[in-house]
Structure formats: structure tokens, C-alpha cells
Symmetry: C2
Subunit: 453 residues, 2 copies
Amino acid sequence: MGVNMTHYDVICIGTGGAGNTAAFRLASAGKKVLICDYKQFGGTCAISGCDPKKVMITAAEFADFNRRLCSKNIADERLKLSWADMMANKRQFTTSHSEKLIYKYNKTGIDYVEGKASFTGEDSLKVGDKEYTFDQALIATGSKPLTLPFDGFKYVCDNECFLDLDSLPERVLFIGGGYISVEFANIANAFGAETTIVQIDDRLVPSFDEDIVEVMTESLVESGVKIMTGARVYCIEKNSDAYVVTIETASGKVSVDVDMVVHGAGRVANLDGLNVDAARVEAARGGITVNDYLQTTNPKIYAAGDCTATKGYLLSPVAFMEGYIAASNILDGNSKKPDYTNTGTVMFNVPSLSAVGYTESMAKAAGLDYRVNFQRTDHWFTSFRVIEKFSAYKVLIEKESNKILGAHMIGPHSEDIINMFVIAMNKGLTTGDMKKMIYAYPTATSDVIHMLD
Amino acid sequence: MGVNMTHYDVICIGTGGAGNTAAFRLASAGKKVLICDYKQFGGTCAISGCDPKKVMITAAEFADFNRRLCSKNIADERLKLSWADMMANKRQFTTSHSEKLIYKYNKTGIDYVEGKASFTGEDSLKVGDKEYTFDQALIATGSKPLTLPFDGFKYVCDNECFLDLDSLPERVLFIGGGYISVEFANIANAFGAETTIVQIDDRLVPSFDEDIVEVMTESLVESGVKIMTGARVYCIEKNSDAYVVTIETASGKVSVDVDMVVHGAGRVANLDGLNVDAARVEAARGGITVNDYLQTTNPKIYAAGDCTATKGYLLSPVAFMEGYIAASNILDGNSKKPDYTNTGTVMFNVPSLSAVGYTESMAKAAGLDYRVNFQRTDHWFTSFRVIEKFSAYKVLIEKESNKILGAHMIGPHSEDIINMFVIAMNKGLTTGDMKKMIYAYPTATSDVIHMLD
């Protein structure tokens, strides 16, 4: 060990869900731990992803609630929402999250350092000018927006930028039709921006169930979001007044003037400057290569969260779970494997769209014997009473066992209903099991009974 | 059988949750069924209880959402909500509910008749002038407001009246501090009425957990509801401008002028005019006496729902369940018993208050060995992001088994979170089982993980 080197039992790179979960578990078990990050401590979910996004979506929910009541003359005011004050509320959350983390590092005896980590060998890395050695390490560096191959990509703003704007521009265009664009479009639209989504596929969020996404698309259109499908950004130019976005469509190129272009077209593992080669850690297109125990090609080094090439979705709870499992295997040797089955997921469109398990096309491809319950539910009480026109569910039920294979839905509290299905599917409950209980009523979650008829 | 008598296999008295569930089940099994009611078809829950109340509470939710956003300057408008338009929306729901029922009676071949049923013998009854005989019958007549023993009780308006007002008076006083008063007070207050609750006990809703109710009471006070505990209405007089309500308090009598007095002080079985004696059906103070199979003292006659003296709460899903079980036993002989354990319940305060299982005092009285997780959660993300100050949970966990004995909470989506506990408790899941799943995040229901630490 060089004279300027500091040694740790474990070094965790990244302060998001995976890195933190592992660091706290390792420190509790008595390990001497260093954690580092070159961005505001907390990771994407807490600082520039799920959480702050959902703070901002609160405004979209309120604006939509107002719109629905106004449609029946129950409310009659045109709302004016303050972006700046909502942003202040968001910053109160993100700032205190980072402060709390540092408080907890101090309390638990975890050392932390700000700066970009770069491997210098199989058991050493640098953060800034300082070099550290480790017995074991965890790479939990998360993801970053995919670089897109068109002229003017430098004008594109990413999630970090959009979720920290002091004021919202008047015209905003989102590249990509995935969940980031849909969620951000709800926010921009709620605060009064002219909002456009440009999506390369023939529909939004292709990984979600087609029939449910159709209902969601209707909701976006009704709320005023302009959606261009089968369309791809060709280039972006800047003039004195606007960004001129040229879009290739089936009927030729069109140009639109906007004040901001936001990247919602996919994310990849963030291995910037990490110099994984020096540590003999292999990475492929999907991220760092790991075995079933989240161990990289360097046995001293594990990886968890968005930066890995696992089957897990890029979701916060998956990162927590992987961080926990990596830490367990660091402590006890390879013994625990992540389980990605029956992971609940939600897209915070307004209303929310949620899913767990097999989609219909997956179930078909797998040759399963199932029945499908699909229905639009705007006439159901849960939707009727809040005047929500855009709600539906699709549940796949295995014929022989009456167990639930998959659930997909949009509507009021769908994100909570889906978690009922997460329990049902994880514990192998049948439709009979789920229908026999006496749920609190009248609630969105008690609707599961009717989804399982 | 007399010449003017019509005979049915089964006659169901009452068109609420219990009566309908039974009638449809019996008709599907091939029975010739008559159903009758003297009020608008649908029962209390659908016509003048849970459902229409929750339609009206939609306005309270919106007003509260506005208030919370205004507290951070995110919204800034003073809302004006239209009672008449909300009522129109409610009536659209209740009217179509009755129409749908009648459509389904016709489709299923169930005969129906409007009028008050009155037993004329052990296997006969009259509805209006017409007499019917039956092989079996089901009493499912529901509940009605308790008569209160003070002068001027005739001036008091009940749930049916309050939920069908063409316009809302300016000053409304609610007698009783149970869930009806609390829910209605939220509604009246949201639409701008000066709102008072007079409660005889030293706190609101004594059947719910004390610590959680304390948080709820704070929410009511902050939203402007005036609460008088340890107070009892002594008399009501009417003058040309107002109802003068005299209230006995610990420090003497006080009189307040209001424009409407609403009854929220408890309900009893509705056996009005039913003449149960003629059928040799016994009834006690709590309602019709039934055995474990919901059979009355007349073996031909069963009873289900609010009118029975069972251990089941006066809740719609309990009535559905009892109706189903009574019909099963009518069809197959006594074989099924109702199970009231782990019934979820929710009070639609804004925010909602929900519960399942043992309260702390019940668990203590039962001598159980448990630990308590109690916390106010205004700093949790679910509450923080919607600026909700009034949220908390209390979970009782059995020490040895780590199974959940009871859950009590107030806050955003508490009514959905509680249904996660309903599943957990009905299926005997442990805290470990519940924490191991990957829930859709960030959602209110995913907070269960932190409630079970």
C-alpha cells in the first residue's frame, strides 16, 4: 500500500438506492466502509428521478382534479399553479434527503467522499487525487441518459435539468415515448406549457400492455399533450428565439419551434470515467456483467442497481434489493440471488398506469393457459365519483389454478391496487382467496374483487 | 293459500347489499324470488350512505388539496365549489344505481315490488295490500337513525336528508361524533358551511385507535370544523331565523343558532312495521336474533346485514357477505358461517382513517404479547409530497410469530394501505413476508415496508 493510500474493507461507488442499502448493511455488520459520489448524495431516484418527479406530479394531479370537477361545473376556476413554489417544495425534499444521508453516514461510521471514482487496479481506485485500496468494492453508479445520434443533441436537456428548472419554458418537446417523457409531459402540461412528445414507435411505452396504454394516450390527448408517434428527431437547431426541432415522420420532415427539448428516450449504465478495465471488470451494452450473485468478473467487486446488466428493471426497489443482496454476498460469500418475479411497477401518468407480471403478449408467447379480464371502468364507482373517464384494467388468470399471472391497469389509485396484486402473485393466492376477504369499502383497492370475477 | 296470495320460494325484504346479494344468488340457483323495499331501490349504502357520501367527499378532497397547495403558495385561488352540481353528480349515480338494479331483476327473473313489508304469519307477509306466502324469507331491512330523547328531535335531519339537499345551509351542526358526523362535517365544511360537531364522549369515534383519532381531530380543527366533546344536545327550538340548539357541557349549558341539525349519533336495526312477532322472529336491542348460520328463531326465515344482531360491523361488505351466506344456507341447509375477523374499515375523513384487527386496548385486554409501531408520518414522502400534515400509523405485531394483529392509520391513501393489511392478516403473513416483496414505488401502499420494521 502506498503512503498516501487509505484502505477500506469495502468501498461503495454511488449513493443511490443500491449503494446506500449495501453501505448501511455492511457498516452494521462491522465493516469499515467508504462511500463516494460525484453528484449530490442520494442517487437518481431521490435527487433527480422518482421522488422529485412525483413531488412535481402532485401539481398535475391537482390540475387534473380541477379539470374533472370543472367538466361537471362543480369547480369553475381556471387554476394558476406556481412552478417556482412547487420547485421550492421539491428542493426542500431533495436537499434534506442529502443532509439526512450524511447525518446517517456520520452516525453509522461510514466515511464518505465527494468526487468521481476511477479504478486504478484490481483492488484500488482514485476519487479525485486521493487513492484508496479495498478488500471488496460495490459498483452502484446507476444510469444516465443515452446519447442520441442526431445533430444538435447538445441542446437537449435531461432529467436532472428538467427537474431543477427555476422556471418552466412555454413550449417543451420531449424526445421518446417512455415513462420519463410521459411523466414529465404531465408535469409540463399541468403548469401550462405547450407540450409535445415525439415517439419513434407506433405507440407510447411499448413495454406496457397495449390496451391500457391506449386509454392512457387518450388521457394525455384530452389534457392537451400533443403526441407524435412513428416520428424521430432528425436534428435540432438553435436560433435567437427558439430551438427548431426537425422531426422525421411517415409523411416527411416537419419542423417545430420550442423553448426546450427534454431527453426521455432511454437510459444506459453510467460507467463514465470509472475505468472498469483497470479493475478487470467486464461491461457489455446493458451494463456491468454480473453472475447470479451480483459478482463482477473481478471476484472482489460486486455491482448492483441500474448500472448492472441484470434482468431487473431500472427501478428503485430493484436497486434496493440488489444492494441488499450484494452486501449479503460480500459479507457471507455468494449465497443470495436476486428474484425479479412479480415486481410491481407504476408510471405516474395522471391517472397512474401500473403493472405486475405477464403482459398478454408474454403469456401468449409462453404458451400459458389463461383467461383475460379486460374492461374500461369509467362507470365503476371509483372512477365515477371523481369523474375519471380514463380507467381500465386487464388481469390474466391461469385457468387451471385460478392464480393471477399478470395485472395491468390505469385509473385512480392504480398504483395501490397493483400492490395488492404484488402480494397475491408473490404468495400464489387464487382469485377465490382474494375475493373472500372483507376489504375496506368503498375504496379503489376493494375493486380487485370485481377484477377477478 | 288464499285466492289473492302469491307464493314464492324465497322473499327478500330489502334491496340493499344483503338483500340483493341473496336474491341474485337464489335466483341463479333456480329459486322463484320476490324482493321488496319501501324506499328507493338500492339500500342505504348505495342510495343514502357510503357511496353518495363518498361522491360528495370528492369535493372535500379537492378543497383540502387546494388548501394544502395554497399553504406553500403553489396554488393561490380561493375555491368556490357548487353544491348543486355535486349533488347532480351524486343523483346521477344513485338514480342509475336503482335503474340498473331493476334491469338486473328483470334480466334474472326476480320479481320486485315497492312497499312496506309486514309479516302476517310464519310463512306469509303483506306488501301494501297484497299478501304473499313463502317457503323461506330473508330479512335484510338494514338500519335507521336511533331516536334521541330530547325536545325538538323532530327538527333533526338524517343521512337521507343531508345527502339529498338541494342547497347547503350556512350553519350546520352534527349530533354525535361517530363516522357519519365526521364524514358529513368534512363535506359541509368543504362547501363553506360553518360546521360544528357535538360529541357526548371525550373524543371523536371512540371505537378507533386513540392516537390516530387525535391526528384526525387536529385535521378537522385545522380545516375549520368546530368540535365540542363531552357535550350533549339538551334541546332544539326553532325560531324564525334559526334552530336554537342548547348543549349541555361540563361548564354548563350553551345555545347556538344554526340552520340545520344533522343526526350522526348512531343507528339501529330498522324493523319498522315489519311485525316480526307475527312471524315468531325474535329481535333484541341490537337487531334480529340469529344463530351462527344467520337463521332467525323462525327456521324458515334468515336475516342478514345491518338489521341483525351479529358481531359484524354495520358495513356494506359485511352485509354482502352475510347476504351471500344466508342465501347459501337457504339453498343448502345450514352449512356456512360468517367470519368477521380481519374486516377492513375506513372512515372518510379527509385524509381517510382506516383500521383492521386489534386496537391496542383490545390487544392489551386479550393479554397478547405484541410490539407497537406508532409514528406520525408527515415527513414521509407519501405525505410530504402532497403537503399532508395529518398522517400517522400504528401497527401491532405479535412478538413471537411476527404476524400482524392490527393496523390503524390516517393519511393519503390509508384506505388502500389498510387493504394490504387485510390480505396480510387474513393469510397470516409475517412482517418478513410483507417486506420481501417488490412493490410499485413511490406509492402509499409501498410504505407498508417501513411500518413493519
